[in-house]
């Protein structure tokens, strides 16, 4: 089992994702440079947070043209597991690997704080170790996390149970409309994370890699990494 963490110029959560995998869940992991044409035998790819290429144009808009993203696209289409966190999620949207787009946070300001999000489906390789409805405390840190898509896409997402994480109150209560305490960036339908129809590509705005040690305030993000390990272990034991 090997994890790969992609490094774009301007990625700044790459070391954090690496640390979570290498030092906390103690799995093999290596960096993948943005100019790499292949994913070097990795079994799961993390697109980390940050400001790829400065994000001066539109978040993720330039990163999607990186050679490594062609490789990640091929990897995803062949069923490989891809986790996009924050800027990584934005890049997945720009690349078309996930549907929808990000708008600026409703207050038009960068927002960094602990949020609560509810696991809406455990039927993914990223959440299989979680409990349905489990509330995870994880931080967000972004300017553009206000998820948006058209009504048809939203209906699709709901029908196919592709909404995997929703912003909620600490006790798990859903966020109402304009409920910016629970859904601070104003995301459509309080969407914090979605997967593709095949369920092997997941993007989320909260940072699970920042929530893997209770010393730093929360270890709730561990369940996502543990799910990945469990899924990869299971895949390895089942002949393809």
């Amino acid at each position: 089992m090997k994890f790969g963490v992609v490094q774009f110029p301007g990625s700044n959560c790459d070391d954090d994702a690496f640390h979570a995998v290498a030092d906390i869940i103690k799995q093999p992991v290596e960096f993948l440079w943005h100019q790499s044409e292949q994913v070097a035998g990795c079994d799961a790819i993390v697109l980390p947070g940050g400001f790829s290429f400065g994000d001066y144009l539109r978040t993720g808009a330039i990163a999607k043209f990186s050679p490594v993203m062609r490789a990640v696209g091929r990897f995803a289409r062949s069923g490989g597991l891809v986790l996009g966190v924050c800027n990584g999620f934005q890049i997945l949207l720009e690349s078309g690997l996930l549907p929808g787009a990000m708008m600026r946070n409703q207050r038009l300001r960068f927002l960094c704080r602990q949020v609560h999000c509810r696991v809406e489906s455990t039927d993914t390789p990223f959440t299989c170790a979680a409990k349905q409805g489990q509330v995870l405390k994880m931080p967000i840190a972004h300017m553009e996390g206000n998820y948006f898509c058209d009504a048809e896409t939203l209906a699709d997402l709901e029908r196919n149970r592709q909404v995997i994480f929703r912003y909620v109150h600490a006790d798990g209560r859903s966020a109402g409309p304009q409920d910016f305490d629970a859904n601070p960036n104003g995301a459509l339908s309080a969407i914090a994370g979605i997967c593709n129809r095949e369920r092997n590509v997941l993007g989320l705005m909260p940072h699970p890699e920042r929530a893997v040690e209770s010393l730093l305030g929360s270890s709730d993000g561990l369940v996502i990494f543990r799910s990945l390990v469990a899924s990869l272990t299971q895949r390895a034991s089942v002949p393809a």
Partner: protein
């Protein structure tokens, strides 16, 4: 083509326009043995500006303690360095970017952060945290301040915090703390002081000392443009007038993405072993980096400007040497290993160009298309600038207005006043601001903004942790610069100790008015005395920092505002303490390092005088007068030692010092920041038994007085006897004053309820006040 600039004849008039005095001009002529050309004049003018040369402050700064057991590098390098064990060092420094932040708040603050970050990584350390100490004019209705001014102050604040966030968030450094203070004196001269902290292995430190005759000098990073020319001399080293907004072209423009690439590339290049010396191009850009590296190494440097990457055409040698374009570095590589350096910068997509070489003659020689554009002894520019013993004169004693307000004679309900205090912008929660900063990136933040008295970082390489706090009280320094400065040191150290860390070193940012005024110089000299005395008493040597003079607009100086950043070391990051209560039923104890309490009438008058300078007096009575509280450094030291001991034993659950707003605000904040967010406190305060009823402090003074050397801690009731015993060992009094509860927040004084209300209602006032004031901006 000969550039126009070289044809400008340098006259005493031109020198004066560059801010050089006739004496300074004569000194230049003497050093060169001839008249300087215009490029040389420009070089001298920036290097000998107040900002770069410290010509007014240098003689005073010598009085600061700079050595100590932990100090690896004191003032004089790009940043201070202290040993934190396990082969690691902490590299840290605070710096001002006041004037640019007034002229153009967003870019001014952004490049302030960018500049201090470069100072850290130019030494081979990876930046892990930033703190910002900010001061603005009032943002809420204030007597004597016009609506228009308030709107402008909000606009400045908004630009500054957006700029800080823009730079730090993208660069990928956690902005973990600092302070935000409001006083009318900062309206036309906000203070933006940024502190950065980095970590390196001790043997991997880099210094800015050029060596190796013939070694190549390599320019890396962003291209040079015309931005920021004379930022150091014209912006930072002169007062503001009504035309100051016209100085906007002197403000640099920041690109945090470029800086992030520069960081990664520099650290990677350093690891190749091919880098001999490196310095960032901050104030005075190419000029300061080249002559300072040459001067420190006792060598010369020759630069060919034709090889400098340029963003625009037609730049003269004068423009190129004085540009303050951001995100640039100058390094000296080992001859024959240039390729290794170039490869790294190419990987990160950055310009790296060999622009010159190290020479043996000690000259800074600037070539331009074959001709010599400047030829100056490097050491003379960097180290032989003018040093002034500016005249010093204590200002005439101002009439104290401390008698203008009278305390309520008997204990009475102060809940309404308490609410007003909680809502005042200086005391209210800063979450609205700090939420706009990424405070967690790089996953080291144990306690970020607002969760502890100091920010606490764990270190992945070791069990240890670091704590940092910045503090300053301009109002107190205005009343008494010496004692006020001591308080700044003591409060920062006390905050660090409340987080459980032992204070080990300090950095200072000295914000003052025009040094050519004897009263300002007196304030400066007094503050230096105070800082020196407090740093010696508390074992926190000064490892670096910066002096910012000319903080005046239309002849009116700011309050003298020394800001101290104190660094503390935790043997175990898990021992760190937050300021919030943790468990219902815990006992609340007041620790007081000053053993004896004031009890006679004389002392009570003094107390009233001191109270007149409190945040409460300012907020409730609109009085800022009297004297700042007396300071007892021995008491501060006792309290600090006691707190560090208690934290290391894990016998207390929280610690929060008493400062702005007194014990009333301290207790409330410990409720507001409690783990579950719904804890409250039931408190009973009493004067010491020895004090006669007629001489007891008024309730307001007891609740909101800001005397130092005190902290409120919470602990399991079973630990009370042990904590009292430890406190006694350290000569600190420990008085049980209440209990952590769920329900109403209640304080009684001498048996009479003085503050009472739902903790939620108080929290809402405290939490929402700043947002309410600023969302409307």
């Amino acid at each position: 083509m000969t550039s126009i600039e070289t044809e400008i004849k340098v006259t005493p008039q031109v020198a004066a326009e560059h801010g050089l005095t006739p004496d300074e001009f004569a000194r230049i002529q003497k050093i060169l043995g001839r008249d300087p050309n215009i490029t040389e004049l420009g070089i001298f003018s920036v290097m000998w500006s107040e900002h770069c040369s410290y010509k007014s402050s240098r003689t005073h700064l010598k009085r600061l303690p700079t050595r100590g057991t932990h100090v690896v590098q004191g003032p004089g390098e790009n940043a201070g360095v202290v040993d934190i064990g396990d082969g690691l060092v902490a590299v840290f420094k605070i710096e001002s970017h006041n004037h640019p932040s007034f002229v153009e708040p967003f870019q001014g603050a952004a490049t302030g952060v960018g500049g201090i970050l470069r100072d850290i990584f130019t030494m081979g350390a990876r930046p892990i945290a930033v703190l910002d100490s900010l001061r603005f004019g009032p943002i809420t209705p204030t007597p004597g301040v016009s609506e228009e001014e308030i709107t402008r102050n909000r606009h400045i604040l908004d630009g500054v915090i957006r700029g800080i966030g823009f730079y730090g968030n993208c660069f990928g450094v956690a902005t973990v703390g600092g302070e935000v203070v409001f006083e009318p004196c900062y309206a036309n001269n906000p203070l933006v002081n940024a502190l950065a902290l980095g970590i390196a292995r001790r043997e991997e430190l880099f210094f800015a000392r050029a060596s190796g005759i013939g070694n190549p000098v390599i320019y890396v990073g962003a291209k040079t443009g015309r931005d920021g020319i004379h930022g150091a001399s014209l912006l930072a080293s002169a007062e503001f007038s009504e035309e100051s907004q016209q100085k906007r072209p002197n403000v640099q423009v920041g690109d945090p993405f470029m800086e992030k690439l520069l960081l990664e590339a520099c650290l990677e290049a350093m690891r190749t072993g091919a880098v001999v010396a490196i310095q960032d191009m901050g104030a005075a850009g190419l000029t300061s980096s080249s002559c300072e590296m040459a001067s420190r190494g006792g060598v010369g440097i020759e630069i060919d400007l034709a090889r400098v990457p340029q963003r625009e055409t037609g730049m003269t040698p004068y423009d190129i040497m004085l540009s303050e374009s951001q995100e640039r570095m100058l390094l000296v590589a080992e001859h024959g290993r240039e390729r290794e350096v170039f490869d790294v910068f190419q990987k990160w997509g950055l310009d790296a160009m060999e622009v010159g070489r190290v020479t043996s003659d000690g000259q800074l020689r600037v070539l331009n298309h074959g001709s010599v554009a400047a030829d100056i002894p490097a050491h003379a520019i960097a180290e032989q600038g003018p040093v002034y013993q500016r005249p010093i004169a204590a200002p005439k004693a101002t009439e104290s207005r401390s008698s203008e307000f009278k305390f309520a004679s008997a204990p009475t309900n102060l809940t309404e006043n308490f609410k007003r205090l909680l809502a005042s912008p200086t005391i209210a929660s800063k979450k609205w601001i700090t939420d706009q900063y990424d405070s967690m990136v790089r996953t080291n933040t144990r306690f970020g903004p607002g969760s502890g008295d100091a920010a606490v970082l764990r270190l992945k390489e070791t069990k240890r942790g670091l704590a940092l706090s910045t503090d300053g009280n301009g109002r107190w320094c205005q009343l008494n610069p010496r004692v006020g400065a001591m308080h700044a040191v003591a409060e920062a150290a006390r905050n660090v100790a409340c987080s459980g860390a032992r204070p080990i070193a300090a950095t200072n940012c000295l914000n003052f008015g025009n040094p050519e005024k004897p009263e300002v110089m007196w304030q400066f000299s007094e503050a230096i005395e105070g800082i020196g005395e407090a740093c010696r008493a508390l074992d926190t040597p000064i490892t670096g920092g910066n002096v910012s003079f000319y903080n005046e607009t239309l002849g009116k100086p700011i309050y003298p505002t020394p800001v101290l950043g104190v660094l503390g070391l935790l043997e175990n990051a898990e021992d760190a303490l937050g300021s919030g209560f943790r468990n219902e039923g815990d006992v609340i104890v007041l620790l007081d390092g000053a053993a004896a309490s004031l009890s006679d009438v004389e002392a009570s008058k003094k107390e009233q005088d001191e109270f007149a300078s409190s945040e409460y007096a300012k907020t409730i009575y609109a009085v800022a007068a009297g004297s700042c509280p007396a300071i007892d450094l021995a008491a501060e030291k006792r309290l600090i030692d006691c707190l560090v001991k208690l934290a290391s034993e894990r016998t207390i659950q929280s610690a929060h010092d008493i400062s702005d707003g007194g014990i009333g605000v301290t207790l409330a904040e410990s409720c507001f920041t409690s783990d579950t967010g719904d804890l409250s406190a039931e408190i009973s305060l009493n004067s010491p038994q020895a004090v006669k009823a007629s001489e007891r402090s008024p309730a307001e003074m007891f609740l909101f007085g800001e005397r130092g050397a005190r902290a409120v801690v919470s602990l399991a009731s079973g630990s009370l006897a042990h904590v009292s015993e430890i406190a006694a060992q350290y000569g600190v009094s420990a008085a049980r004053i209440g209990t952590v509860i769920r329900g109403e927040f209640r304080i009684q004084y001498e048996g009479v309820p003085v503050i009472q209300g739902s903790v939620d209602s108080f929290r809402r006032i405290w939490k929402d006040s700043l947002g309410k004031a600023l969302e409307s901006a």
